[in-house]
């Protein structure tokens, strides 16, 4: 047992951190689905998280390199805003159109479910690593 079992848990934890961060961003997108005013001016832009594989080059042996996942970037979705005809709205332009954020709640919900499932998968990894560790500790105990 060369402390590999803890490494398994660390990797799963990195996955959990990344997926939770994604859920936070999705939650932020959903919360701002109708925000027409932001600090930068204009409506809110949908944010996207991208992930990156982590390879730890500090160890020489091949198998020590794998260290899970991390958040690579938090980017803005450049797709066009949703135009809604609402002349009474304070943010309406002179033609009576209001620019709403490019957030599609349906899409966000689907992404949220994906993130949740991936998070659960990582939790399952931690649990199985725990079983393995406990069974390693049992070696020689009953003998």
């Amino acid at each position: 047992m060369n402390l590999n079992a803890f490494k398994i848990m660390d990797i799963a934890a990195s996955g959990m951190t990344a997926e939770r961060f994604r859920s936070e961003v999705i939650s932020n997108n959903l919360a701002n689905a109708n925000t027409t005013r932001t600090e930068n001016g204009g409506p809110y832009r949908r944010k996207i998280v991208t992930f990156k594989e982590v390879l730890n080059k500090q160890f020489n042996s091949e198998d020590e390199q794998l260290s899970g996942v991390k958040v690579a970037k938090l980017e803005e979705d450049k797709s066009p805003f949703r135009l809604v005809y609402d002349p009474g709205h304070p943010d309406a332009d002179k033609n009576g159109y209001v620019k709403y954020p490019n957030v599609n709640p349906l899409r966000e919900m689907v992404d949220l479910i994906t993130a949740q499932r991936a998070y659960e998968a990582n939790v399952a990894v931690v649990n199985s690593a725990k079983t393995m560790f406990n069974s390693a500790l049992s070696i020689g105990r009953g003998a």
């Binding site: 590999n4 079992a5 990195s14 997926e19 996942v69 399952a124 199985s128 070696i139 003998a143």
Partner: protein, 134 residues
């Protein structure tokens, strides 16, 4: 006695390989949403089979202990990490299938538990041999 015991030689190696495999499955699952990631795996059984002399390779015939053998000895068996470059049915080029990965991981956990139990049985055999049945 212990040194010549095949079980005591192979099981720790197998435990090590299974543990590394678990780490790699965990890495695969953590990278489930990483664009372009290709899943990795560990081969140990094939290496072991080769060392046990059960392979398709042509073996040299030996009838003296000083003859060269072209099959690796059990002590040299090691696992290998391979990358699975199979085609992905996902848009982002990632070929991790979460169901496959979870099932493989569970199998691997069970295999680990079975191996620890095997080595425990071995130890209790020795205990019986040393102390006798009371």
């Amino acid at each position: 006695m212990f040194i010549k015991d095949l079980a005591i030689n192979i099981i720790p190696k197998a435990l090590d390989a299974v543990e590394t495999r678990q780490k790699i499955y965990s890495h695969n699952i953590a990278n489930y949403n990483t664009p372009g990631y290709k899943r990795k795996d560990v081969t140990f059984e094939q290496e072991l089979r080769k060392a046990m002399g059960d392979s398709d390779e042509i073996k040299l015939k030996t009838n003296n202990s000083k003859h060269l053998k072209n099959i690796p000895s059990i002590n040299e068996v090691n696992y290998k990490i391979i990358e699975d470059n199979s085609r992905s049915n996902r848009e982002d080029g990632n070929n991790v299938d979460i169901d496959v990965e979870m099932v493989k991981m569970m199998e691997n956990t069970l295999q680990y538990n079975a191996l620890t139990r095997l080595i425990n049985y071995r130890f209790s055999d020795y205990k019986t041999a040393i102390g006798g049945i009371r």
